[in-house]
């Protein structure tokens, strides 16, 4: 199997951008990623484009060819991807597979989303889904995980709030994040309740934004020199239906992380920096546990200890994560990987993880039968 490398990455600012279209957001990110890689559009062999809400909010479909057309990539195969919150990381996964299969030398991944419009309500699974029609929406499943985590492990409201406090502390160092003002536990808990026990600051904001990555073969990466980042593992799995899902020992999350570590030949102790899908405060606590940064049930105490905060031994979501950077759904999975690339290159500015050699990006998407629909874990190194 051929090795895959990342030779270019770029992310736009995240937040309301009413003057931008899905295509212009995607184009901005893709052009910047190509420039970062030092390659021109004529050398792109294949493109993957991720977007979720274009069809629902604007009636826009098959947008990838418009984005790639706008950056001068024509005739090459372009594939449009939707996989909930893992749309971007699923597109990345396919790009890595194309390189590993020796089917291309340079593949560009773009995730772009425009969702800051008044018509967007609670994000759910749609009219054909039993749970969605009975009140399951994005915060609901996670709020129930939070309530159960408190019940089984004694996790506290203050520990949930600590995730947001830590997130804002990192975001203050990321000029592209949406919420950059530092906060504290009292302020997080005093905000309006969205779904008990999650207050508003524990739920990620929507955003407009895009992120792009250039994935390359070893041959194409050689020209990129020392800045090339190695893709040690990219794993994509789906959830499962079981009779009685355990919502606080998240099998799909745990399994996918373990698979990625195994494939990359590393373990949790080797990870210098991680991005994870902190759509809600409880999400990050569960992902600490799945990633093996602490024992099952210990996620609340882990964040409270400061281990995942700026200067901590295991920095998590240095970008500010979904909670502070914002969550333009299809851009998120790409942006997480881009963030890790910056740390491995030593280009993350004020939030740089010292001497980062190994990084992980974890993402999840959708609700189904008490599980997620999709999960991705990517391990990168320099």
């Amino acid at each position: 199997m051929a090795a895959a490398y990342i030779i270019g990455a770029s992310t736009t600012a995240f937040g309301p951008q009413p003057e931008k279209s899905i295509v212009s957001l995607g184009r901005d990110a893709a052009l910047a990623a190509l420039s970062d890689a030092g390659v021109d559009s004529a050398s792109v062999n294949m493109g993957f484009f991720a977007n979720v809400f274009g069809p629902l909010l604007f009636g826009d479909t098959t947008i990838g060819q418009d984005v790639f057309g706008a950056i001068g990539v024509q005739r090459a195969p372009i594939i449009n991807i939707e996989n909930a919150c893992t749309s971007g990381s699923s597109a990345f996964h396919l790009a890595v597979q194309a390189i590993e299969a020796d089917a291309a030398d340079i593949v560009v991944v773009v995730g772009a989303e425009k969702m800051c419009v008044p018509t967007l309500g609670l994000v759910g699974g749609g009219q054909s889904d039993y749970a969605s029609r009975n009140g399951m929406a994005a915060p609901v499943g996670f709020a129930m995980r939070a309530a159960r985590h408190m019940h089984e492990f004694g996790t506290t409201l203050q520990q949930f709030a600590a995730v947001t406090v830590k997130s804002r502390a990192f975001a203050a160092k990321n000029p592209l994040a949406q919420f950059r003002k530092p906060t504290n536990v009292e302020e997080v808990l005093a905000g309006p309740m969205i779904a008990d026990p999650l207050t508003r600051a524990q739920c990620c904001p929507i955003a407009d934004g895009a992120s792009a990555i250039v994935v390359a073969s070893e041959k194409a990466a050689r020209a990129n020199g020392a800045r090339a980042v190695r893709v040690n593992a990219s794993v994509l799995t789906s959830g499962e239906s079981v009779s009685a899902p355990d919502i606080v020992r998240w099998g799909t999350d745990i399994r996918t992380c373990a698979l990625a570590y195994e494939k990359a030949g590393v373990g949790p102790d080797d990870v210098d920096v991680a991005e994870c899908h902190d759509a809600f405060s409880i999400s990050e606590i569960l992902h600490y546990e799945a990633l093996g940064f602490c024992a099952a049930g210990e996620g609340g105490r882990f964040v409270e200890s400061g281990a995942s905060a700026p200067g901590g031994r295991k920095p998590v979501n240095p970008s500010g994560g979904l909670l502070s950077r914002g969550h333009p759904v299809a851009a998120t999975g790409v942006a997480q990987i881009s963030e890790i690339v910056l740390h491995l290159r030593g280009e993350a500015g004020a939030r740089q993880t010292p001497d980062a050699k190994v990084g992980v990006a974890q993402c999840m998407g959708g609700d189904k039968d008490g599980d997620t629909k999709s999960c991705t874990v990517v391990v990168l190194s320099r």
């Binding site: 309500g121 399951m136 709020a143 309530a147 009779s243």
Partner: protein
């Protein structure tokens, strides 16, 4: 008269989907689901084929009682005209090895606890995607506090 019309009459509006619940001779509601005779597996809602062995599944009664495994109360603007606030739960059913997602009684939204024993009721709650009123199943406390 079709089964759906009977239910419209009993519940005051058409069910949000067919085959989710029904009433017994005494008028007590119960959930309907699927059972696979090959693997002894239950599902809710009903599925035509078993997700494990792909055999055809039988329609079976899943009872109307259970215990709250976890719950939340949604206080932001609800979808499908559901009450604001509304409570939901994962419920472990007494009569089938299933943990299902369901609405809780909105007249006591926020008043439920993990471990509460609950029973099924059916009422006109919210609407469908077109804005038409719909009957939905929901669980309320089995015993008064």
């Amino acid at each position: 008269m079709t089964a759906a019309r009977v239910l419209d009459h009993v519940f005051g509006a058409p069910p949000i989907a067919g085959g989710l619940f029904d009433v017994d001779a005494s008028g007590a509601p119960f959930l309907m689901g699927g059972h696979c005779d090959q693997c002894d597996r239950y599902v809710f809602p009903y599925s035509e084929s078993c997700p494990a062995c792909l055999s055809g599944m039988k329609h079976v009664r899943l009872g109307g009682e259970g215990v709250i495994y976890s719950h939340t109360t949604v206080r932001t603007k609800p979808p499908y005209g559901l009450p604001q606030p509304y409570s939901v739960a994962f419920i472990d059913l007494n009569d089938a090895p299933l943990r299902i997602f369901a609405l809780l009684d909105h007249s006591m939204a926020g008043g439920f606890r993990i471990g509460d024993r609950v029973k099924l009721k059916v009422g006109v709650i919210g609407h469908d995607g077109e804005g038409d009123p719909r009957a939905r199943g929901y669980f309320t406390l089995k015993d008064s506090r």
